[in-house]
Symmetry: C2
Subunit: 363 residues, 2 copies
């Protein structure tokens, strides 16, 4: 999964100044859990001197440090911006850290919409120190219109879909890849968002692509991945029921053209994230299964085999063991599908999802 990063593995420090906590540091947590390269430090001066795992439950042994210079002393040659803000702007409190990294010649990896070098002070720091910037959301300039390529015969495509944004689609995708690999399968992860790209070292942030090209961008990534794997697991985005992002979700669904889908759901969430004021409820799982299966059919000729939702990946973070167990059982009861929380249940949960996929999709 390390293509695109160049030869030597990067030594990454994660910038999360003042925000290294579960609610705000989604990118940091994903990278701490899944990155194939070493994370040498987290930069958050408000928590300096502690261990990363104390704050986000993952990253034991990774020190939290106060400054970029401290991270460089630990060997960092990359500074990854590890949090996301609504609107995609770089937080003003981050700019001195980023400037210092560029002055020290580091590579800055940025997954926000705002481009680092559009800030003249940061551009100047880069000039002074020779630092470089990798914009994880910058799409390729030569994207095709979707619907004209078909992946290698024999490769099977699985898309994670969701009841909402930010429910755990990337996590479920990565856990399914690992579980398939444990079962001896050749599996590839297709990253479609900035955290996934920071982890995989490649991918396209489909929400940053001009709308006409979302399906084409996805199709190209799937076809490329199918050349090197028999199972292509595509990270989903948003939800077909999301008032803001549904178009991205449908473009991704039609571009991926999956053989099967895994429905991801945050069991604790009753209202669509960001639409609490509007009181928009999360749909129930049975509705969502039908919605995704219907929509997958639209771009295909009538009579084409229906792509099924084959399993439910639940996110039960913060729940008691009893409550979580009851949610997982309830999901299976409602949908008649295998369900698991691949984080809470660990390998056993992820293996259950992978087994459901292997059982449902013929070779």
């Amino acid at each position: 999964m390390n293509r695109g990063l160049g030869g030597k593995a990067p030594q990454v420090a994660i910038l999360a100044e003042g925000q290294f906590a579960p609610a705000t540091a989604k990118t940091a947590i994903g990278v701490l859990r899944y990155a194939p390269y070493p994370v040498v430090a987290v930069v958050d001066s408000t928590k300096a001197g502690t261990d990363a795992a104390r704050h986000v439950g993952i990253g034991a042994g990774v020190p939290v440090v106060a400054t970029v210079d401290d991270a460089v002393a630990l060997g960092a040659d990359v500074l990854l911006i590890g949090t996301a803000a609504a609107g995609g702007r770089i937080a003003d409190s981050y700019r001195p850290f980023i400037a210092r990294a560029l002055e020290r010649g580091l590579a800055v990896w940025n997954g926000l919409h705002e481009r680092v070098l559009s800030d003249p002070h940061l551009a100047e720091a880069a000039k002074r120190g020779g630092g470089t910037v990798r914009e994880l959301r910058e799409p390729p300039s030569d994207l095709p219109i979707g619907g004209h390529r078909r992946h290698r015969d024999g490769a099977r495509v699985v898309l994670t879909v969701g009841s909402d944004a930010a429910v755990g689609k990337m996590t479920a995708s990565l856990e399914i890849v690992r579980a398939l690999e444990r079962a001896g399968e050749r599996a590839a992860f297709v990253a479609t968002g900035q955290t996934g790209i920071a982890i995989a070292g490649e991918g396209i942030s489909v929400d940053a692509v001009v709308a006409d090209f979302v399906a084409g961008a996805t199709e190209r990534m799937v076809c490329d991945a199918a050349e090197r794997a028999d199972w292509v697991i595509v990270e989903g985005q948003g939800s077909l029921t999301h008032p803001g992002f549904s178009g991205v979700t449908l473009g991704l669904l039609h571009g991926a053209g999956p053989d099967a889908m895994v429905l991801c759901h945050a069991a604790f969430r009753q209202t669509m994230k960001g639409y609490e004021r509007e009181g928009l409820p999360v749909r129930d799982l049975r509705d969502l299964v039908r919605i995704y299966e219907d929509a997958a059919e639209w771009r295909r000729p009538p009579g084409y085999p229906r792509a099924r939702v084959v399993a439910i990946a639940l996110n039960t973070i913060g729940m008691s063991p009893e409550h979580a167990r009851s949610e997982i059982g309830g999901a299976t009861h409602a949908t008649k599908l295998p369900a698991a929380d691949p984080i809470r249940e660990g390998v056993a949960g992820a293996d259950r999802l992978a087994e459901a996929i292997r059982g449902a999709v013929p070779a």
Copy 2:
């Protein structure tokens, strides 16, 4: 509908060099039919000295001329690029005409993805002659995420949706606006593509917006239009069944949040445009009605009144009168909905669509 053009009405020449024909000059034809400003000439040296209507069936009295200088002699102060190419590049054969227009100080209106001034020769011509460029597809830079605004109570929103791209959604929308106005209603047209914007003088080309913002862009336009009209007619794009553009269509549908939809269909088309090689059939009208009504519901709380498809707008161009009549009758028979070709049937056809809308959507 002339907002955004400034005070004085522009005098427009349409550039269609070598391509002024029904199959290629979609933008030119739309502008000739609907623009509220005078079109003084069409520029196509291969047809110079003839009347526009001879080639595209509309534009009687508008001369086709050979050069930009000829158009300027007729009073042109705008040169509108009147054709669209796959991929959105400016045709090389157009560049000398555009350069001349910029040298003569004209405003160039461009609806293609490629930006005029990204060509250094054209940028130089603009500098030399004081010509300006209006990029019709350039989206505003401050677009919101959709789902957080609701239009004025009392305004009703109608979206044209389609069985495919390029079936006549813009035309149907503009004809419905005129028919509602004939019936004494205050109606507004919301332009979502380059031709609609060239006609209306304002709008956002939603297919050129970064995917995360399609719904938000549409929602903003709808809310703005609802301040000045009781009926907001939104130009649809693409199709939910289109393998490349479906994401744009769903973002537009969820951003518009329509009270009713009009399904547009090109009666002569059996296969999705651009997918002849893949042999992807156009869905039948009954399926499409269900697909659009289902999808409109997804972003709304359960129990919200279902947005209905209330009429079928057919495009029967090129068919014999008998064949067209049979298609229109067949559409009504299949869907139990009023159907009309608002171009072939003229005022009577458009009025039938407007009546269906007024009858179906309570005030």
